[in-house]
Each structure stands twice: as C-alpha cells, then as structure tokens.
Symmetry: C2
Subunit: 219 residues, 2 copies
C-alpha cells in the first residue's frame, strides 16, 4: 500500500491538464524480497541483490530516474547508486528539502520510523549534517505503537494502524518535537485513513519523495 500511496502522491504533485501531461511510470513491486529490517537488525539475508534486479528491470524499461518508497531500503542507497546505473532520489534528502523550505516547520524534529531505520541512522546522519536535531520515541512507545502500526498496514487494517500512529505522534509532540517526520512509508497510509487534527504537524516522507521526484523529472 506504500507503493500505491507514493504513486497517488506522484500523480497529485504532477501539474496536468490531460493524460499526456502525466509522467510515464514503470513500477517494480516485489514484496517477496528479503525483509530490510531483518537484514539490518538480525543479520538476515540482504535484499540488495533483489533490489539491484529491480533496478535492472527498471533500466531495461527505459527508466531515467528512480524513487524507492521504502525508507529502510535507503540503507543500501550508495550500493544501489553505484551498481544500479540510475539516479535515485534519496528520501531523506527529499524530507530535508521540505524541512528547509517550509516556514511552518520548526525544530526539534521528531522521527517515527522502523527500528532498522533508526539503528542504521538513515535519518540521523543526513539530518545532523544539515544541523537538524532529532527526537525519537522511546523503545516502549515504538513497541507499542509504531511497529504494530506498520504490521497492521501490511495486513490491511488501516484505521486501526492510524490510531496507533496518532498516539506515537502525540508522544513525540509531548517530548518537545515541533514537527514529526513520518519516516516509514506505511505511516502516512495509516494516518491518512483517519481524521487526525495533528496531521498538520507531520512531514510525510512519501509526499516529500513524490514532490522531489516530480520536480527532478520535470527538470
């Protein structure tokens, strides 16, 4: 559903008056590839060979630019750029651009993500290079809200997941975050399925990726 959400936001961000104005898109979505989380956290099988196979498939179809609507997959960003032969929009760079250009976004910035995205410092390294400080949920909140919400989205229980994500956001706002990054692509799917007033304080990494992709695709 994260891929569907990305495609929806890609279409929404594209200025179009008719079919022809929309971007030509090829999608390679193979959810059977090894878990990104298990590979990082439990030394599981690496998904890199299958992600490179995906990049080869996209290149064969003439793709000129790649977006990957999975935050954790960006752990292998450098290898994918080096071996995939295609430019890839980095989801965290896209989020940083949103944060820097918005006057409504103030620090410190909260981050909701998978355990693996946190452990691998996928956001922390790029954000700290830009001087942006971050706040995260404590382990207990992650176990209680974020991880189960991600699993619920994969099982299709969106509103139930949305309620959990809302609670994780609340906790970060209480902890001092002024803005919260939805840094796993299941999270905006969950939150968009409920009417959540604090949604305004969230930066949607999927939407940021879509915006950066459209912007680069249209030059």
């Amino acid at each position: 559903m994260a891929t569907v959400d990305f495609l929806k936001k890609l279409v929404e961000q594209t200025p179009a008056e008719c079919d022809e104005d929309h971007l030509p898109v090829v999608v390679y979505s193979v959810p059977q590839m090894p878990s990104r989380n298990a590979a990082i956290m439990k030394n599981g099988k690496s998904p890199l060979p299958e992600m490179l196979a995906g990049l080869r498939a996209l290149r064969t179809q003439g793709a000129q630019l790649v977006a990957i609507p999975c935050n954790t997959a960006h752990f292998w960003y450098d290898e994918m750029c080096r071996e995939g032969g295609l430019p890839i929009v980095h989801i965290v760079d896209a989020v940083c651009e949103q944060v820097e250009k918005s006057h409504d976004i103030h620090g410190p910035i909260g981050l909701l993500s998978t355990e693996a995205t946190l452990a691998a410092r996928i956001y922390h390294d790029r954000m700290s290079r830009r001087g942006i400080g971050m706040v995260v949920n404590c382990q207990e909140e992650r176990d209680k809200y974020v991880t189960p919400a991600i699993d619920l989205v994969k099982r299709g229980h969106l509103t139930q997941a949305g309620d959990l994500v809302a609670m994780a956001v609340e906790n970060l706002l209480e902890r001092g975050a002024k803005t919260v990054i939805l840094g796993c692509t299941e999270l905006p799917v969950a939150l968009d399925s409920i009417a959540y007033p604090q949604r305004y304080f969230c930066v949607d990494a999927t939407r940021a990726l879509a915006e950066a992709t459209v912007s680069r695709a249209l030059g």
Copy 2:
C-alpha cells in the same frame, strides 16, 4: 489516477498478513500513448502498437497475468490477447461475474462510460450475450456530466468530478436502472472522493477487475 485506484483495490482484495503475502506486480503506465477515444471516435492514431509494446515490457519482467484498468482499451482486447502472448483479464467479464454472483444487483443495469466504450459496444456485446439488459445516459447527460467528470479527474479535480458523476448516476436511476456500472476507470476515482449515499447502487468496474485479477493470480 485510475492506475493508482486499481492498484489500491488490488492490494485491498489480497488476503495478506505480511509483505510476502502481497502479489508481485509490475506496472507499465505510459499516458503519452494515443487516446483510445480519439482512435475509436475520430479515426485517430491507434494505441495498439504502444499497448503491445507495454505487453512486451510486462512479459520481459516475467508477468504471467495482465489487467488493464482502462475500459475503452478493451476495444483492442482480441488483438492484445493474440499478439501480446499473455492472458488478460477482461474488465467486462469481471463486471459480469460481479453482477451474476451478487444478490443485491438487479436489472436493468445502467452504464456510465466514455463515448467510445458505448459506441464500440464494449459492454453491450458481452452483457447481452449473458442476457443482461442495459440503460445509458442520453447524449445531453453524457456531455454535461460524464465526459467533463473524466477530464476533471485527469486534471486532479476529484471532488468536482465526483459531484458530476453523482448526477449522472441519479439520472440513470431515474431512468429505471437498478444498478449502475462505473464503466470508465476515472469514474470510481471521482465518486470515491465524495460521500455519495447512492454509491451502494454502483458496480465499480475497477474493483471488479481487481477482484478477478487477485482470484486468478491466487488460482
């Protein structure tokens, strides 16, 4: 957005407990191909060569089954089956299966579609073979509601389109239809964006296609 809507419904219809349970999908979405409507109605350039190129691309990626979330494109169904080398789920067959298996669906059945889908009898021929009678909007209603609604979806104005589709549905219900087929894949996108109480009387061809596709993919 019709492709996004189809993918969303495909994911929703798939029984899944985790990533791996979801179907592997490759998508080829090239909105620059010639207009299906113009080809049928105005003797414009045929989209068939580019649709066959799409089928070749999907076959190269290992696709075993194809769904095409565009009703009008089914005008070229026989050629695509013959020359594409892949089984294709026919959207009208998927709708007929829905109609036949549902006890809530009663005739006569209304049809909302593009002018080309109507003119080419894409629904009429298959439905009448199954003995299902149909009712359509008059030309004036189509010009006023259906055609502008489709264009509005392509431009991203979903709720405005939704209001027009609702009026087209109302007119068919008044004309005696007991059920209305949303027989152009922009129409459910429009109607899903508004809270429309009569949605219950509509058969969504996109959802029917997704259901038939999941059912065939899972054997």
